[in-house]
C-alpha cells in the first residue's frame, strides 16, 4: 500500500518537477506583502470586523466539532485527572491515617491532661508536693498482693510509706523504692488498711481492699464506733499525718455505696466505691513533704508546677 503510494508520489513529483514546482515570485511577494499589511492593520482595529465574521462562522463549527470529539479530547484530561485522583487518594488517606491517630490519641491525651490538672489541684488541696509518675506495671494477681510499679523512685525524692494519689483520689502507698521506680500497694489490696474518716460525721475507721480490681475494685469500710452507721453517699477521706502513719490526711477515697451488718461478728461494714479506678491507673502523684529534693518537675503545694 505504502509502496504504491511512494511510486505514485514519485511519479507525481517527477511530473511536478517537469512543471514549474516553485510558485511565481510575484504571487509570493504579493502574499507576503498582504500578510505584512494585515499585521500592520491589525493593530489599528481595521481587521476586527473580519475577525468577528470569521468567529461567527467558525465558532459554531468549533463548538460542534469539540462536542463531537469530546470522548477523544476528554481522554488526556481523564488520564491526567486519574493520576491526580490517585495522588489525591494517597495524600488524603495519609492525612486520614494521621487524623485518625490524632483522634485515637485525643481521648487519651485529654484524660492525661485532666489527670495533670487534677493532680495539680490535689497538690494544692493536700498541702503536699506531688511527684508525678506513670504506672508502668501491674503486679500479677497470682502474687495475692495488688501492686503497681511507677516510674519514679529515690531520685525523685520518694521514700517508702508515702501516699500515692491520682487526680480523683487515693491510690495507695509506696512500699518499696529503687532509684528510678517504686512499688505501690494499692488501696484495693486485701492487706491494705487505710485510716479513714467519714466526712459527714467525722467518724473514724479503716478501709480495706478485697484484692479484686474488677469493676474498678470495691473497698470495705469498718468504723471504730460500732454503733455508728455510715450513710450511703458519705464521702470517705484518709486520716493520718503521713509521718507516724503511712497515709496523709484529706485524700478522698470514695463514697459509701451500701451498708450491711455482718452476721458473724455484729460489725457493721460498708462498701465504699473508690474514686480511683484501680484497674485503669496511669498518671499518679506521690505526696512528698514540701522541700523534698527532686530531679523532675513536681506539682507544688502552692498550685504551681516546678521544681
Amino acid at each position: 500500500m505504502l509502496q504504491r503510494t511512494h511510486i505514485r508520489l514519485s511519479r507525481r513529483s517527477r511530473l511536478e518537477m517537469s512543471s514549474n514546482r516553485m510558485p511565481p515570485k510575484g504571487i509570493v511577494a504579493a502574499l507576503v506583502f498582504a500578510s505584512a499589511s494585515l499585521m500592520a492593520l491589525s493593530s489599528t482595529g481595521a481587521i476586527d470586523p473580519l475577525r468577528s465574521a470569521t468567529a461567527d462562522f467558525f465558532g459554531p463549527a468549533e463548538s460542534t466539532v469539540s462536542a463531537m470529539a469530546r470522548p477523544i479530547t476528554a481522554l488526556p484530561r481523564y488520564l491526567k485527572s486519574k493520576s491526580q485522583l490517585e495522588n489525591q487518594v494517597a495524600s488524603l488517606s495519609a492525612q486520614n491515617t494521621n487524623l485518625q491517630a490524632q483522634v485515637n490519641r485525643g481521648g487519651y491525651d485529654r484524660n492525661r491532661l485532666n489527670e495533670y490538672v487534677g493532680l495539680s489541684s490535689m497538690a494544692a488541696n493536700l498541702g503536699y508536693n506531688l511527684v508525678p509518675a506513670h504506672v508502668i506495671a501491674y503486679g500479677p494477681a497470682q502474687s495475692f498482693t495488688r501492686t503497681v510499679t511507677i516510674d519514679a523512685g529515690t531520685d525523685s525524692g520518694i521514700k517508702p510509706g508515702e501516699t500515692v494519689v491520682a487526680a480523683q483520689g487515693l491510690v495507695g502507698r509506696v512500699v518499696s523504692v529503687t532509684a528510678g521506680t517504686a512499688t505501690v500497694l494499692l488501696a484495693a489490696d486485701s492487706d491494705s488498711y487505710v485510716g479513714a474518716r467519714l466526712s459527714d460525721s467525722m467518724k473514724l475507721g479503716f478501709v480495706r481492699g478485697n484484692g479484686s480490681l474488677s469493676g474498678g475494685g470495691t473497698l470495705n469500710l469498718q468504723l471504730l464506733d460500732q454503733s455508728a452507721v455510715p450513710r450511703a453517699g458519705d464521702i470517705v477521706m484518709t486520716w493520718g499525718d503521713g509521718r507516724s502513719g503511712p497515709y496523709i490526711s484529706g485524700v478522698p477515697i470514695g463514697t459509701v455505696a451500701n451498708v450491711y451488718a455482718s452476721l458473724t461478728n455484729s460489725l457493721r461494714s460498708a462498701v465504699v466505691v473508690p474514686y480511683v479506678d484501680f484497674s485503669a491507673l496511669d498518671e499518679v502523684g506521690v505526696a512528698v513533704p514540701v522541700g523534698t529534693p527532686t530531679v523532675g518537675d513536681i506539682f507544688r503545694a502552692d498550685g504551681k508546677v516546678g521544681r
Binding site: 503510494t5 511536478e16 518537477m17 510558485p23 494585515l38 467558525f58 488526556p76 484530561r77
Partner: protein, 163 residues
C-alpha cells in the same frame, strides 16, 4: 476548481480540528500543528502556487479564528514560508516526509515567534520558547509519521489529471 474548493474545505477543517480537538491533547500547552502539516502536505503534493496560496489562506484563518488573539497575518506569513519550503523539497519516502514536516514545523513556529519579537509581543524567555518550538517539532513529526503519507496521497488524488 473542484480541487480548489476541496483545499479550502480541508484547510478550514484542519483549523477547526486544530483548535477543538488537538488543543486539548496539548502537552504543556503545545499541541500538534495540524494546519502547518496540512500546508506541508499541499506543498509536498502540489507545490508551487497552490501551496503558497493555501498556506496564506490557512494561516490567515488560523490568525482570525477564535481563540486567536495575535496580530493578523503572523501565521499567514509563517505559512507562506512553510509552503515554499515544502514545495522546494522532493518527497521520496515516509521518512523524508516526516523530516520535511519537522523542518517546516521548526521554521514555521520559529518564524511565527520571530515576527512576534519584531512586533514587540510579550514573549517568554528564549529557552522556554526554544523548548516550545522543539516540543512542537516532536508533536508534528509524530503526527506526520502517522498521517503525512495519507494526506499527501489524498492531495495528489485531488490534483486534476494533466494531459
Amino acid at each position: 476548481m473542484k480541487s480548489t474548493l476541496a483545499y479550502i474545505v480541508l484547510c478550514a477543517a484542519a483549523v477547526v480540528l486544530q483548535v477543538s480537538v488537538f488543543s486539548p491533547w496539548a502537552w504543556n500547552g503545545i499541541a500538534a500543528d495540524l494546519v502547518l502539516l496540512m500546508v506541508v502536505a499541499i506543498g509536498l503534493a502540489r507545490g508551487g502556487t497552490y501551496a503558497v496560496v493555501c498556506g496564506f489562506g490557512a494561516g490567515l484563518l488560523l490568525d482570525l479564528v477564535p481563540p486567536s488573539t495575535d496580530e493578523t497575518g503572523r501565521w499567514a506569513m509563517a505559512m507562506i514560508v512553510v509552503a515554499l519550503l515544502a514545495s522546494a523539497i522532493q518527497p521520496t519516502s515516509r521518512r523524508s516526509m516526516v523530516a520535511t514536516a519537522a523542518v517546516c514545523s521548526f521554521v514555521g513556529t520559529s518564524l511565527y515567534a520571530l515576527i512576534g519579537v519584531v512586533l514587540g509581543d510579550h514573549l517568554p524567555s528564549f529557552g522556554s520558547m526554544l523548548g516550545a518550538i522543539l516540543l512542537g517539532v516532536l508533536w508534528d513529526s509524530a503526527v506526520a509519521a502517522l498521517l503525512m503519507p495519507r494526506i499527501v496521497r489524498l492531495f495528489t488524488r485531488l490534483q486534476p489529471h494533466r494531459v
